[in-house]
Every structure is written in structure tokens, then in C-alpha cells.
């Protein structure tokens, strides 16, 4: 069906991976997000009033799911939901069949799945737009757009910044996507992660080559020269030795003490939920911007949804 649509010149827009985006695409999203922020200030809009959006979350999610649903509703769309535990998937239905059926009901699909490449696969089956809301440890492009827009809005600019990605980079899909996103705009990126939890050498080399950036890899929590500090959780379950897990977690916990040497105009971002990687005392530091970042989730996802239908 998708091929048939292509043959007659109908191209369906998707958002699947940051790799599919160019710098101009991101800047274009920024303009659309600004418009959506204005719409949010005005209240509910009717840009997508004739649309039905399916949010298919095969994995647990709170913020991503709720902000996509809120974004859709603020645009006047209707949302249909899905409970993976109670669905026919439990009876062994393939993802292909599930997508084929739901695609026949709705106008767009937002999908999160633990299997990497699931969203791209879904986009090849569906005749309607598909948004990747996270596929395993691979990609989370809507989060990256939130992160990049947060940097622009909360730090005042998007380029010429020293950006530090901090925590368990290896297992966090938000970090994989963001690494490509920040490399589009910034020449200096530091990766600060405990030994064994940084990106693999191949990923680092690829980003350095593709974007001409300088990537510095550090195994100690050094953040003194950074303008944007992006923190993610260090997961205890990644360590075989619980004592080592505790030691590393303590070493990489962001505290007021760690922040003493940091720049005064640095901003701290986090995809949330945060557990104990940032001390509560940091929440009241003026540099902590993660709650404001989370609030941007709705206008960013409104822009993504409206853009799929050429409504913004």
C-alpha cells in the first residue's frame, strides 16, 4: 500500500530518527514550535480537529505518552489508546498485523517499542504518519527536539556552546539521539560517563567525522567549562557489583558541591524522570532547567503532530 502511494506521488511524512533530520529541518521545527507555544498561550486550537491519533506504547511511559496525548488534544485531535498487556499481542499477533489494523482506524500513529527499528518498520507498513516515541536503545527523536529547543530557549542560543552529556550514555536512547542533535550545532562535545558506560568508539568516530566536531571523553565528573550539562540516570542494574554501582552513583551524583566550579550561566537539563542522580538541593539552583524543559514537551510535540499534516 505504501509503495502504491509512493507510485502516485503521495509521500507520507514520519518522524523516526534524528539521523533523518538535517540542521535546516531542526531550525524549521524551532519556528513551528514557537508558533505552537503561541497557540498554547491562546488555549486549545482546532488545527487537527478532524484527526484521530493512536498512541501505541508497548513499553511503560508517563511523560512522553501524556505529552503526546496532551499535544494531540490541544490541537483538537482525538486520541485512541492502547494497552499492550491486554492487547492481541499477548496472543502472539505480529507487530506487522497490529500496525496494519490500527493504521486502518486512525490518521497517525505514535509508537514506543522495546525492539530497535520497530518505528521504522511500522512506517513501512502504515499508510499514515508514524512518530517514533522511542525504540529500544536506538532513537527518541521527539525528545531530541525538546532538548535542542530547550537549549535554544533556556540558554539563549543553540550554536557555539560546550555541551556535556553526563551519566550512562550507553543505555540511554535519549542520549544517542541527542548526541547527533547537538553535533549539528556545536563543535565541542564532552562525554562524561563511568568507565564502560560511554558511547562506543564507532559512534564517537562517526559523529566526529560526519559533523567535524571535537568529542572529549571523560571518566570523571568534570563540568567546569561546559555551557549545557545534560544529565541522565546511571542505572544500578548495569553493574554486576552492587558496591561498585553505589560508588559510581555517588561519584556521578550532581550536587551543589559539583556545581561550585561550573559556569554561572550553564544550564542543567535532564530528560526526566530523575531518581537520585541529581541531589534535591540542585532543583532550586537557577541553572537547573529540567522542569522547564519538560514543560516544553507539549508545544514541541504539538509542532511535530501539526507538521505531519502540513498544518503549521
Amino acid at each position: 500500500m505504501r509503495d502504491a502511494l509512493k507510485e502516485i506521488g503521495v509521500f507520507v511524512k514520519h518522524l523516526l530518527s534524528v539521523r533523518d533530520l538535517k540542521k535546516e529541518d531542526v531550525l524549521s521545527y524551532f519556528r513551528k514550535i514557537e508558533k505552537m507555544e503561541e497557540e498554547v498561550r491562546k488555549g486549545r486550537t482546532n488545527l487537527l480537529e478532524d484527526k484521530i491519533i493512536a498512541t501505541l506504547f508497548f513499553e511503560p511511559s508517563t511523560r512522553t505518552k501524556l505529552s503526546f496525548q496532551t499535544a494531540a488534544k490541544r490541537l483538537g485531535a482525538q486520541v485512541v489508546n492502547f494497552n499492550a498487556d491486554a492487547s492481541s499481542l499477548k496472543k502472539g499477533e505480529s507487530l506487522m498485523d497490529t500496525i496494519r489494523i490500527i493504521d486502518g482506524y486512525v490518521d497517525a500513529i505514535v509508537i514506543r517499542h522495546e525492539i530497535e527499528g520497530a518505528a521504522r518498520f511500522a512506517s513501512e507498513i502504515a499508510t499514515h504518519p508514524v512518530i517514533n516515541a522511542g525504540d529500544g536503545a536506538n532513537q527518541h527523536p521527539s525528545q531530541t527536539l525538546i532538548d535542542l529547543y530547550s537549549i535554544k530557549k533556556l540558554r539563549g542560543k543553540i550554536s557555539g556552546l560546550n555541551v556535556t552529556l553526563f551519566g550512562d550514555l550507553k543505555h540511554a536512547r535519549a542520549m544517542h539521539s541527542l548526541f547527533y542533535g547537538v553535533a549539528m550545532f556545536n563543535r565541542n562535545i564532552a562525554l562524561v560517563a563511568p568507565p564502560g558506560l560511554s558511547f562506543d568508539e564507532r559512534t564517537v568516530e562517526e559523529v566526529e567525522t560526519e559533523f567535524g566536531v571535537k568529542v572529549t571523553v571523560k571518566e570523571k565528573p568534570e563540568i567546569d567549562d561546559c555551557d549545557v550539562l545534560y544529565v541522565c540516570r546511571i542505572q544500578k542494574e548495569r553493574f554486576s557489583d552492587p558496591y561498585e554501582a553505589e560508588r559510581v552513583k555517588k561519584e556521578f551524583m550532581l550536587t551543589q558541591e559539583t556545581l561550585k566550579k561550573a559556569k554561572k550561566d550553564m544550564i542543567i537539563l535532564h530528560p526526566l524522570p530523575k531518581i537520585d542522580e541529581i541531589a534535591h538541593e540542585v532543583d532550586s539552583d537557577s541553572r537547573a532547567k529540567y522542569f522547564q524543559q519538560a514543560q516544553l514537551g507539549v508545544p514541541v510535540r504539538m509542532a511535530i503532530l501539526a507538521d505531519l499534516f502540513g498544518k503549521v
Binding site: 539521523r19 522495546e114 521504522r120 536506538n138 562517526e206
Partner: protein
């Protein structure tokens, strides 16, 4: 006395394989135990162009064009000759394509291609091949 391997009447001759890569070409084409056709790998043959080369002859079997991509992965200098009635009916130099569809399996156990009925796809990049689905990159050696 020079080693002689007879000509084939019908089948495929893969020539100009870099010396030492013939076994890898066999592996990637699935030629080994259980392969029914008669075949011969002639290694370290003198070559004006290459110094030394390997040649693989497969009798009564015409390899598929999509296998040319696989050969290019391990022997980018190879040429494939389709022989019919003792004459070369078709000759083609293999070339690294921009994308390889359906012939290599993704080694990532969490990749969708290992769960659903979908043909694998890899983008050929400078030093690696990237899975079009899970987006992980692999060296040619990891995929063969």
C-alpha cells in the same frame, strides 16, 4: 607442472578475487558442506594486474545478481562471469552498492529484523555497514 582446472561449460566464474579472499567469497555465497554443485577454488593464481588472485568456479549454477553485493563486501575487485555453452554470456565487475537489501542478517538481537518478517537492509558507509532499522553499524567482518 602447472596446476590445471578445466573450463566449465555452464556456470559462474568469479575472477579477480584478491589473493586469500576466495574462502570468504565461498562462505558468503554459502558454498561449503551440503553445497551440491561442483566447484573449484584456485588460490594464488598469477595475475598481471593483481600480482596474485583467487578464482572461484561453480559448475551448473548461476549466481543471483543480488549476491554480487555480497561478493563486493569481501572482494570488491572481483568480476563475475556467467558462462553458458562454454562462452562468457555476461560479465560484470562487482561494485559496492549504497544499500544492501535482504542478504545479510543484523547481528543485533534487539533489531526488528530478527523479530518480524522483514528483509534486512544495510547502508554502506565509509568503513562500516549500518542497519537501516536498528541503525547500529557493523564492520563487514561482523556481518559475514
Amino acid at each position: 607442472m602447472p596446476l590445471k582446472v578445466e573450463k566449465i561449460e555452464n556456470g559462474t566464474v568469479i575472477d579477480h578475487i584478491s589473493s586469500g579472499e576466495g574462502l570468504r567469497v565461498m562462505k558468503i555465497l554459502g558454498i561449503g558442506l551440503g553445497f551440491s554443485a561442483r566447484f573449484a577454488l584456485i588460490a594464488n593464481v598469477k595475475s598481471k594486474k593483481m600480482g596474485k588472485k583467487d578464482i572461484l568456479k561453480i559448475e551448473e549454477k548461476y549466481i543471483d545478481e543480488k549476491d554480487f553485493d555480497k561478493i563486493a563486501l569481501v572482494a570488491p575487485s572481483a568480476s563475475v562471469n556467467i558462462v553458458k555453452g562454454g562462452r562468457v554470456a555476461k560479465k560484470k565487475n562487482v561494485a559496492m552498492p549504497a544499500r544492501i537489501d535482504g542478504v545479510l542478517a543484523c547481528p543485533n538481537p534487539k533489531c526488528i529484523t530478527n523479530f518480524e518478517q522483514v528483509a534486512s537492509a544495510f547502508f554502506v558507509e565509509k568503513k562500516t555497514l549500518r542497519c537501516a532499522y536498528c541503525e547500529r553499524s557493523f564492520s563487514a567482518g561482523e556481518l559475514i
